[in-house]
Symmetry: C2
Subunit: 595 residues, 2 copies
C-alpha cells in the first residue's frame, strides 16, 4: 500500500484485466492518430526537427504511466511548452542547429530534474503562486504569439521573433513575398480544420454515430488534413514548386542521448527550465484534477511532479524536448474510455510504429499543414473576454492578468509570467498591509457582532469593539497602532477597547510589539484593552509571552461574553485588570489537544 503511493503503477497493474485492456487499446489508437501530427507540429513550433516531437512521444509516455498519479493524462509535446522552449533557445542558438537540439535535450533533462526534486521535497505548492488570472492571461497571450509565429509557414515567407510585435512587424515587411501554392495548402487546411471543429461532430451525429464517438472522431480531423495535403503535394510535385515540406527525417527509434554537462549552459537555461517545469506542472495538474474528479478519483500533486519529472528525463535522454500533460489530448483519451495509464503506454507503441513505418510518407507533408494544425489548436486557448470578467470582479487580479498579457506579447513569455507572479504577490501584500477594520456592535437579539456602518446594531458609549480583518504581521503592525489610537482619541469617554479577533490568523513578533505598545498607551489614558475570539493557534503562541501578563484587560472566548462583562459598568466586573485567568483558558476545555 505504501509503495503504491510512490509507484502508482502498482495500484492498477495487478488488477489489470481484458475489458480494461480493450478500452485502453481503443483510446490509444485514437490518441495516436491525434498525436502524430501534433508531435510533428509542436517540434516545428519549438524550432526543432520533426522527429524530436516523435521521440518526445514515446519513452516519456511509458515513464509517466509508471510514476504519474493521473489515470488519464496524456503526456507529450504541448503548444505552450514548445513555445517556451523556442523562446529559451532562440536567444542562444540558431534554430535547428546541433547546439539548438542539444539545448532542447538539456531543457528537458533540467526540467525533469527540477520536477523530481520539487516532488521529493513536496514543493508542489510553489505552483499555487501562479494565480488563475496569471495563467489565463499567459495562455491567451501565448496562443496569440504562437498563432502569429505560424503565419509565416502559411504564407511561405521567412520571419522570426518571439513576441507579437516582432512577428507582426516582420510579416508586414514580407507581404510581397507570399508564396501562392503554400498559401493555398495552408489556408485550405486551416479552413478545413476550423470547419471540422465546428461542423464535423454534428455531421457525424446526423450520420448515426453516438455523440461521444462523433466527438472523438472529429478530433482526428488533423490526420485527415495531413494525409490529403501530403498526397496533393506528392501528386502535384508541389515541393519542387517551392512548397516547404517536412523532408527526409531519420527513421527508426531514438538512441540514448547524453545531455551537455557544460556548466555555463546549465546556468543560462536554469530559469527557462524552471518556468517550463512550473507552467507545465500547473497545466497538467489542472487537467488531471478535472478529469480525476469526473470519476471520483484523486491525483496527488507531489506524485504528479515525480511523474512529469520522470517523463521529462525520459524525453531528454531519448533526444526529445520538454513534455507535459496536454489539455485536448487528455480529454480525448478520457472520452475514448482510457481507464489506466496503460493507454498511454500503448500510445507510445503506436508512435514507435509510426516512426518506424511512416517516416518516408511524412517527408512530403507540407509545413503549412502543420502550421494550420497549430493555429487551430491554440485559437481555442485564447480567452480575451476573461479580461473583462476579471476586471469586473477584482482590479488586482485584472492588473496581474493585464501585465502578464502585455509583457508576454511585447517582450517574452518568461517576462510575462514573472511580471504576473510578482504583481500578484505585490498587490496581495499591499492589500494586507492596509487591512479593512470595522467598529462592530451587537445584532439585536443575537450574540453576533457586525460593522456599525452596515448593520443596525447596539453599541455602548464607554466601550468600543474593533474588528481587524487581517492577520497581524509586520506589514500592518503600525497600521493597527494608528487605528486604535485614532479610535481612542476620537472617543474620550471610552474606558474599554475590545479587539475582536476572529480574522486574526497570526500575530507575528512585530505585531506583538505593536500590541504591547497599544496596551501601554491605552493604560496611560486609563483605557483597558481586551481581546475576544482569539483562535486556538494564535492563543497558543500568546500563552508564553509577557503580553498576556501585562494586558490591562481580559481575553474573552466570545465577543458576547466581552459585551456582557463590560457592559455599562465602570466597576470592571470579571476581575481587576491583569489579574485572574484569561477567559479563554477557563472556557477552552481541552486546550492544545490539537492545534
Amino acid at each position: 500500500m505504501k509503495l503504491s503511493r510512490f509507484l502508482p503503477v502498482l495500484a492498477w497493474l495487478p488488477q489489470y484485466d481484458r475489458s480494461t485492456l480493450s478500452r485502453d487499446l481503443l483510446a490509444a489508437v485514437i490518441v495516436t492518430v491525434m498525436l502524430i501530427p501534433q508531435s510533428l507540429a509542436y517540434a516545428m513550433l519549438a524550432g526543432l526537427p520533426p522527429q524530436v516531437g516523435l521521440y518526445a512521444s514515446m519513452l516519456p509516455l511509458v515513464l509517466y504511466a509508471v510514476f504519474g498519479s493521473s489515470r488519464t493524462l496524456s503526456v507529450g509535446p504541448v503548444a505552450v511548452s514548445s513555445l517556451m522552449t523556442a523562446a529559451a533557445l532562440g536567444k542562444l542558438f540558431e534554430p535547428g542547429s546541433g547546439e539548438y537540439i542539444a539545448g532542447a535535450v538539456l531543457l528537458a533533462v533540467m526540467s525533469g530534474l527540477m520536477l523530481v526534486l520539487m516532488g521529493v521535497f513536496r514543493l508542489g505548492f510553489l505552483a499555487n503562486f501562479l494565480s488563475h488570472p496569471v495563467i489565463s492571461g499567459f495562455i491567451t497571450a501565448s496562443g496569440l504569439v504562437i498563432a502569429a509565429s505560424q503565419l509565416k509557414h502559411l504564407l511561405g515567407v521567412s520571419n522570426g521573433g518571439h513576441n507579437l510585435l516582432a512577428l507582426v512587424g516582420g510579416l508586414y515587411e514580407q507581404l510581397g513575398d507570399v508564396h501562392g501554392p503554400t498559401l493555398a495548402i495552408g489556408a485550405g487546411a486551416l479552413v478545413f480544420l476550423l470547419a471540422a471543429r465546428r461542423y464535423l461532430q454534428p455531421l457525424l451525429v446526423r450520420l448515426g454515430l453516438a455523440p461521444s464517438t462523433a466527438g472523438m472522431l472529429s478530433k482526428t480531423a488533423p490526420i485527415l488534413a495531413v494525409v490529403v495535403t501530403t498526397l496533393v503535394t506528392w501528386g502535384l510535385r508541389l515541393d519542387q514548386a517551392g512548397v516547404a515540406v517536412v523532408g527526409d527525417i531519420p527513421g527508426g527509434l531514438p538512441a540514448l542521448v547524453m545531455p551537455s554537462l557544460e556548466m555555463s549552459l546549465w546556468q543560462q537555461l536554469a530559469m527557462s527550465a524552471l518556468l517550463i517545469s512550473i507552467v507545465g506542472f500547473v497545466e497538467s495538474v489542472s487537467v488531471g484534477q478535472t478529469l480525476a474528479a469526473k470519476r471520483r478519483q484523486r491525483i496527488d500533486p507531489d506524485q504528479e511532479l515525480v511523474g512529469l519529472g520522470a517523463a521529462n528525463l525520459g524525453a531528454g535522454f531519448s533526444g526529445g524536448m520538454p513534455v507535459t500533460g496536454g489539455f485536448s489530448r487528455s480529454v480525448v483519451n478520457f472520452d475514448a474510455g482510457a481507464e489506466t495509464p496503460a493507454a498511454s503506454a500503448f500510445t507510445a507503441v503506436g508512435i514507435a510504429l509510426a516512426t518506424l513505418l511512416l517516416t518516408p510518407a511524412i517527408a512530403m507533408l507540407p509545413v503549412a499543414t502543420l502550421a494550420a494544425t497549430i493555429i487551430v489548436a491554440v485559437i481555442s486557448l485564447i480567452d480575451l473576454p476573461a479580461l473583462v470578467r476579471t476586471w469586473r470582479y477584482s482590479r488586482a487580479d485584472f492588473l496581474a492578468m493585464l501585465a502578464t498579457i502585455l509583457l508576454t506579447l511585447s517582450y517574452s513569455v518568461e517576462a510575462g509570467i514573472m511580471a504576473g507572479v510578482g504583481l500578484s504577490i505585490g498587490l496581495f501584500l499591499y492589500r494586507t498591509s492596509r487591512p479593512h477594520s470595522a467598529v462592530v456592535g451587537r445584532v439585536p437579539g443575537t450574540e453576533h457582532f457586525r460593522n456599525v456602518c452596515r448593520h443596525e446594531v447596539e453599541t455602548r458609549p464607554e466601550m468600543a469593539m474593533l474588528r481587524v480583518d487581517e492577520s497581524l504581521y509586520f506589514a500592518n503592525a503600525r497600521f493597527l497602532e494608528d487605528r486604535v489610537l485614532e479610535l481612542v482619541s476620537a472617543r474620550p469617554e471610552l474606558s474599554n477597547v475590545v479587539l475582536v479577533c476572529p480574522a486574526v490568523n497570526l500575530i507575528d513578533a512585530s505585531a506583538l510589539e505593536s500590541l504591547e505598545a497599544i496596551n501601554e498607551r491605552l493604560a496611560d489614558s486609563g483605557v483597558r484593552l481586551h481581546l475576544s475570539e482569539v483562535k486556538g493557534p494564535v492563543m497558543d503562541r500568546l500563552q508564553g509571552t509577557s503580553f498576556l501578563e501585562r494586558l490591562t484587560g481580559q481575553v474573552y472566548l466570545t465577543s458576547f461574553q466581552a459585551w456582557q462583562a463590560l457592559s455599562g459598568s465602570a466597576a470592571h466586573p470579571g476581575g481587576t485588570p491583569g489579574s485572574g485567568v484569561p477567559a479563554e483558558q477557563v472556557l477552552a476545555g481541552d486546550v492544545s489537544k490539537n492545534p
Copy 2:
C-alpha cells in the same frame, strides 16, 4: 490649518514664546556638545573627512525643523547610515578621495529625492515591510560590524573590509603592528566612556544633581574624552610619535555643492540610496513615535518622509553625508526639555560656531578617541538575546532575523537587509498558502462556534461547519478544494457543508473559481454548500458574480442561523437550493452604505 500639515513649522512658530525659547536653547547647548564628537566620528566611520560630519549637522537640522513633523527628533549623521554609506562607496572608490566624497554627496541627494518622492506619493507604508526582527537583527549585526571596523583605530593598524569576517581576519594578521601610544589613548578613552555610561549618572546624583540632569550630563562624557585626549596628544606631541590625529581641516562654513549628474553613478548608487533612505526612515519614525507618544503628540509618517528628505537634500547640497534621526541624541534632546524643532535649529547654529572657532583645536584630536566614541555608542545597539526571545515566540521571525544577522556579518549590510525582507515575505506567503482550518461546533448554550478538537462543542452528523482561517487567494485556492473534498469523502453521511468565513478577508478570482468548483463537485455528491459570517467587503464583491446564483445553499449572516436552519432536517428548511434571496441581503439592513 491645511498648510501647517505640509509645513509643520507653521503649527508651532506662531505660538513661540520666551519660556519655550529658554528650554529649547538649553537642549540645543547639550545636544551640540554631544553632536560635535559624534559628527566627527560618524564621518570617519563613513570613510569621509571629519568636516563632512560637521557640514551634515547644520543645514539638515534647519530644514528638518521646517518640514519635519516630530518636535524633538535630532537629525544628523548616525552610526548605521554612516556604515551603509561606507559600504556603498567602499565598493567603488578609495575612501577619502575626491570621488568618494562626491559619492557621499550624491548618496545624500538621492536619498533626499527618494524620501521626498515617497512622502509625496504616500509610500511610507513600504517601510512596514522591514519587520521588527529584521530591523533588530540588522542593527545588532551593524553594531558588531561597526565596532569591529573601529578596532583598527584603537590599535593603530591599517585594516579594511565591510563585513565581520574580513575585519576580524585582517586584524588578526596585523596584531604584531599594534601601536602602543595609540592603544593607550584609545583604550583609555574606551574605559572612561564605558565607566561614564555606567557610573557617571549615579555619581552625579550622589553629588546632589537631579537624576534627569545627571542623566543628560553623563551623555556629554564623550566631549570630555575628546578634550582630555586632545590636550594630552598636544602636550606630549604624540602625533609626532605616530598617534593618528584628525589633522587640519578646513575652517569656515560649507559652500554650495552640486551633486554629480553622471548617469552611471546614479545607477550604481540607486539601490544603496534606497536602502539608506528606508532604514533611516524606519529608525527616525520609531524614535519619533516613541517620543511623541510620551507627550501625547502624533507624528505623520508621510510628512516625516518629506522632512527627512529635505534634510538629506540639505546635507547633499552643503557637502555633507546622508543623515537621519538618531536615537540617543533625540532622547537627550527630549530629556533636556526641547519643546519645538527650534532646538534643532539652535543646535545647527552651535555646530556652525564650533566649525568656525574650534577647527584648529580639533586638528590634535586622536582618531582613537573617536573610535572609542563610536564603539561605546554602538555597543548599546547590540541585542543578541533578542534572537532567543524571537526564537521562543516565532520560528519564522527568528529565521528572518538570523538570516539578516548572518548575511550582514558575513557579506554586506545591503545583502543582510534584502535577505531579511525577502525571507519575511516568503515565509508569510508560505504560511498563508497552507492555512489553518478547523471543523467547528456550537459551544453549548451560546451562539458561538469553535474548533471541535479544542472545545467541548455540539455537532450534527449530517452537517459540517468548516472554518478556514485565512483569506482565500491564489496561493491557497487549491488547498481549500482539497480540504473540503477530503472532509466530504471522509463523512459520506454529510448533506450540508457550511464554510464559516469570519477570517476570510478577501476572495480573489482564483479562489472564486475554486469555490465554484467546490460547489459543483459537492452538488454532484448531493451535498449543499453554504457560507456564513461573510464580511461586508467580501459580500459586496460576491454580489455581482454568478457564484451566488449557482450556490446550492444559502449565505447566512451568522453561523448560528445556519445551524438552526440546517439542523437535523433533511427537508432543507429555509428555501429550496439556489432559490430565495441570500440571508445576508435580508438581514444586512443598510448594506453597502460604508464598505
